[in-house]
């Protein structure tokens, strides 16, 4: 292999490795290449890379080769990571949100009953993220707080109103397998035919 091509591939491998890339691993990937060449190409690639790309750097640490950002930019990297919208939900929070969205207004004990799992952390997370809000109290014993979805919920999910949520029926329609699907075929006894028709004319 040309050294220039090898250097490109080495760069790609350092990039995709989720732990430092070792020479032993490289030997496995390139069984036909000389180890000295591998090491030499790697070092040359790193020299060139670090000279030119000042936003990242490749370093040889005890366990292998590793690519990372440079310490002098960490302040900016941290700043960027903070801007990321915290729109992601845990599975528990998602499930609780789903129950609230479809059963609103709904109380804490009712959510517990439907989910069969305690949801206090999930409800708190959803309140923190402003996806749900309180809707007064239910006029039953204990006067539990009612929860419903917020305007932010609609914005976040790109909904004009709650009526845009798919219904259970619509979801179940999707679950139905199509009729006439090929999986219903019974292949018995057709091998002969198959070979016939595969013959060139």
């Amino acid at each position: 292999m040309e050294k220039s091509e090898l250097k490109q591939i080495l760069q790609a491998l350092v990039f995709v490795a989720d732990e430092p890339l070792t020479l032993n691993q490289l030997r496995e990937v390139f069984p036909d290449e000389d180890v000295a060449l591998l090491k030499d190409s790697m070092e040359e690639m790193i020299r060139e890379f670090n000279e030119f790309h000042k936003g990242m750097e490749i370093r040889e640490i005890a366990s292998g080769y590793r690519i990372s950002t440079r310490p002098e930019h960490h302040e900016w990297v941290r700043r960027y990571l903070k801007t990321k919208p915290s729109a992601k939900l845990s599975l528990a929070a998602l499930e609780t949100l789903a129950v609230i969205a479809y059963k609103q207004p709904v109380t804490f004990p009712e959510i517990l009953e439907i989910r069969g799992i305690k949801s206090s952390t999930a409800v708190k997370t959803l309140l923190d993220k402003k996806l749900i809000e309180t809707r007064g109290r239910k006029k039953v014993v204990g006067r539990p707080i009612l929860y419903g979805t917020s305007t932010d919920f609609l914005v976040h999910f790109g909904l004009k109103d709650l009526a845009e949520l798919p219904t259970l029926e619509e979801f179940e329609e999707l679950l139905h397998a199509e009729t006439g699907s090929v999986s219903e075929i019974t292949p018995r006894g057709f091998n002969g035919d198959e070979q016939d028709s595969a013959e060139p004319k």
Binding site: S90, A98, Y102, E110, L165, P166, F171, G180
Partner: protein, 259 residues
Amino acid sequence: MEEQGPAAPMESGTAFQDETAEETPEVLKVKLDIFEGPLDLLLHLIRKEEIDIYDIPIARITERYLEYLQMMQDLNINVAGEWLVMASTLILIKSRMLLPPDPEAPGTPEEEDPRMPLVQQLLEHQKFKNAAQMLYERETIELAVWENPKTEFREEEEELISATVFDLIKSFHAVVQRFQDKIVLEVEHDTVTLEQKLLELRSLLALQPTLYFSSFFERKISKLHLIVTFLALLEMVRLREILVYQDRIHSDIKIVKVA
């Protein structure tokens, strides 16, 4: 299956055949899979029979099409409604072609051609097939590249998902399923007695002198519970412990403790 006709549609001319040609046991399945519906089959027949799409010999195509349907039935494939609808469309076009043109009918000869709507539909379908091919090629390229798998900054979080509307309904569906399973279990182990229910209702009324009938149904409880609740209420009316009435017809039934 010995005659030529029905077997013929399986010789596919499409590009997708060759990929799977060696895998003998699955070949038949894959080949049938090529036809994503009646339009797909028609396009295949047109190509195979080397037909000009703007001048389809409708009788011949209809015949081939029906042969194919017969073969599907022979193979015990459940022939969906769409395939039959297309069959009747073809037969209808065929019979219209036999009618002499109406000299008083307005419009140009092309517009009169009873095949045109189908041709338009086929052309449209072919466009989307080509678009799908383009997506397939793009996907192949994109599946050959990798993104940065890690950064030292990415925290180890519990699995988080960017939820969509579809996630909401999927999640709710799962909860409802789980809940329904639970109800079945509860019913099996349910041992509520009338006495228990009477005690429960009395303590409830001690706290809250007015109850609404609907509140018993808000929580999803087992049928047995509902029946026993109902019996308990009747019993309490009989014992004159409660009054039951409605403000208006069809309004919620009020249950009031007799002082």
